[in-house]
């Protein structure tokens, strides 16, 4: 059974000006342990899909099953619990709390999982170590670079041991070297067993995925497997270039 099972999934926005079919009856399965890039031009429905599989939004048609749970039958509290337990979000704009340090930011999802203070702190520090920021746990977002901030956000996404990591344009606000760092991190997490779905319109980013799904006008127009490029290699190349 696939981790994500979408059948005839639709999202239609009803506006005064008329209906917008953002997602048009798509079927999509994503297996556990895969690393998928969702591509497509602006307005093609990528973020809409992310919101649906991230349980932030409900479909207007079709069905969606996440890790065996029928998502469209859940109420707001059920969706919140699913987001808390099964999904880690990574955003383009990081969305860190500016006044809280890295560890406190990483702890946020555990606040709603009912963990006590000690357990929260321990797991937050573990997650920060996993993203290579063990020594920066006491820094505030303002004291960190963009790439480091995104790492904190990834640590935050990892703390509740989710089945799925959802990233909407995670490298959109970063330079190409930092973007490679983040992709390398995603690949490492994927090798460790994490299912990763990345929305991007950047083909460079998509090359690092094992599978690429292309959207246009709310429909899937292609779905291909590929041999992913290793972000580590890209970083080495970059190093060689700067050295030369």
């Amino acid at each position: 059974m696939a981790l994500i099972e979408a059948r005839e999934l639709s999202r239609i926005y009803s506006l005064d000006a008329g209906r917008v079919v953002a997602l048009d009856r798509i079927d999509l399965d994503i297996d556990a342990g895969d690393m998928v890039a969702i591509m497509g031009p602006s307005g093609s429905g990528k973020s809409t899909l992310m919101n649906l599989i991230g349980c932030l939004d409900k479909p207007t048609g079709g069905s969606y099953r996440l890790d065996g749970v029928m998502v469209d039958r859940l109420d707001a509290n059920g969706l919140a619990k699913l987001r808390n337990q099964k999904i880690g979000f990574v955003f383009q704009q990081f969305n860190l709390l500016p006044r809280a340090d890295a560890a406190t930011n990483a702890e946020l999802p555990m606040l709603y999982a009912g963990l006590d203070r000690k357990a929260r702190r321990r797991r937050a520090l573990d997650a920060l170590a996993r993203v290579g920021l063990a020594d920066r746990w006491h820094h505030r977002p303002m004291q960190l670079s963009g790439g480091q901030q995104q790492r904190v956000a990834i640590a935050r996404a990892l703390v509740n041991d989710p089945r799925l990591l959802l990233a909407d344009e995670p490298t959109g606000a970063l330079d190409s070297k930092t973007a490679l760092d983040i992709l390398a991190l995603f690949q490492k997490l994927n090798r460790e067993g994490m299912t990763v779905v990345i929305v991007t319109h950047d083909p460079e980013v998509a090359r690092h995925a094992r599978r690429v799904v292309r959207f246009r006008d709310g429909r899937i127009i292609s779905d291909e497997r590929q041999e992913p490029v290793r972000a580590e290699d890209g970083l080495k190349e970059l190093q060689a270039e700067t050295a030369a």
């Binding site: 932030l56 919140a80 987001r83 969305n95 946020l108 606040l111 709603y112």
Partner: protein
């Protein structure tokens, strides 16, 4: 998230914008300060009035010779003093509900004991006086009927006089000289403390009415049977107003006053005067309560306003919290706790300010400061409730945010 942690994060949010928070709390601070000051002043004033009633004696009226008017004292025509101890006796005999009618004369004299010299009040009384004023003996006894009738040279000392002249010695059966007359001390009265006007009521020597007339108070009183004043004690407060009317009628009749003549005496209802003081303290309380209610309302609206601003400012944060698994009710309680904490801190600061005001006013007015723990808890509790009430709408607005839209907001 435990309540403790919720409180901590609420405090962080509040201190992150300290100046704004304090300004927001101002309404609550003023409101609660008014409440606390109100309660403190109200109960302090009441306590003082009660003290006065108690030290005076309950259900008490005083009849003075002469018609006391705004301009001063005017005595009845042809008489040095219009009031007699016969009048007092008649009042006690004929007016219903009168427990005691105590005629008295008051003067000032030097009291001497073994070279110690002390100027004090001399009050010539009969035993009804001690009943009317609810004044007990600390030691010794009151006057016996024979002493009163014959005007014997005996005295009862007030506490201050006893202490001044005798120190720690026992004054009983000792001789005190007043106006060259050797008075034998038969009793020492219990302590009464200060009067409403700050006089030491224990700085006094009591002598039998007749004795005072003959030996101390001078000519006027010796000629006839007149007295300066009569204390009248009623059995119940309810019958006082009616009884005082009857006393007036009786005295006018006894003094043979013509229909159109003014009273040649003055009756004052002391209990009523005391009650008036309580009533004016109560008026002040109502005024402060109104101020408090309005300030709390304004303060509550201020909190609502700032919480709405805060929800708008932190829309992205709310979106993020919802995305990582906060339920709507988690967001609701977060903002509710924040509003309540804000209001409660305002309440606590208000209590401090109110206590300060109460102390200052009480010092100035000479009242005791009476603030019950209860009123402090109620004040802080009410401000907390104001926070809950006015924080609810903004909090619900936060909880109802759509996570996707909230995350997209700049």
């Amino acid at each position: 998230m435990s309540l403790m942690e919720a409180l901590r994060s609420a405090l962080q949010a509040i201190t992150a914008n300290a100046l704004r928070s304090v300004l927001t709390m101002l309404g609550i601070i003023i409101g609660v300060a008014a409440v606390i000051a109100m309660v403190a002043i109200g109960s302090g004033a009441k306590a003082r009035v009660n003290d006065q009633i108690r030290s005076l004696g309950a259900n008490l009226a005083i009849i003075s010779a002469g018609n006391v008017q705004v301009g001063g004292v005017r005595l009845g025509i042809g008489a040095s003093s219009s009031l007699t101890d016969e009048d007092a006796r008649a009042i006690k005999r004929e007016i219903e509900g009168v427990e005691a009618a105590a005629p008295f004369i008051r003067g000032q004299a030097q009291a001497i004991y073994q070279g110690t010299n002390w100027s004090t009040a001399i009050q010539a009384v009969d035993n009804d006086f001690f009943v009317a004023r609810e004044w007990d003996m600390a030691s010794g006894r009151g006057f016996d009927p024979e002493e009163l009738r014959r005007g014997e040279i005996v005295a009862i000392l007030g506490q201050t006089v006893a202490r001044t002249l005798f120190g720690s010695d026992d004054p009983l059966d000792q001789i005190v000289r007043v106006r060259n007359t050797p008075f034998k001390v038969i009793g020492v009265a219990a302590s009464k403390g200060q009067s409403a006007f700050g006089q030491d009521q224990d700085d006094i020597i009591f002598v039998p009415l007749e004795t005072g007339r003959r030996r101390i108070m001078g000519r006027n009183y010796a000629k006839d049977r007149s007295v300066a004043s009569v204390f009248v004690k009623f059995e119940q407060e309810a019958t006082m107003v009616h009884g005082i009317g009857e006393i007036r009628a009786l005295l006018r009749q006894r003094h043979r006053l013509a229909e159109d003549a003014e009273d040649d005496f003055t009756v004052r209802n002391l209990t009523e005067i005391a009650n008036t003081a309580t009533a004016s303290a109560r008026t002040l309380s109502f005024l402060l309560a109104a101020v408090a209610a309005v300030s709390l309302l304004v303060g509550g609206i201020g909190i609502m306003n700032i919480m709405l601003v805060s929800v708008t400012e932190r829309t992205r944060e709310i979106g993020l919290r919802l995305a990582v698994g906060a339920r709507p009710r988690d967001v609701l309680s977060q903002f509710l706790i924040e509003a309540t904490t804000l209001a409660s801190i305002g309440g606590a600061l208000g209590v401090a300010l109110g206590l300060g005001i109460a102390v200052v006013i009480a010092r100035t007015a000479g009242w005791p400061v009476l603030v019950s723990l209860e009123s402090v808890l109620i004040a802080v509790g009410v401000s907390g409730l104001v926070g809950v009430f006015f924080g609810f709408y903004p909090a619900r607005r936060a909880a109802k945010l759509d996570p996707i839209e909230a995350l997209r907001r700049e």
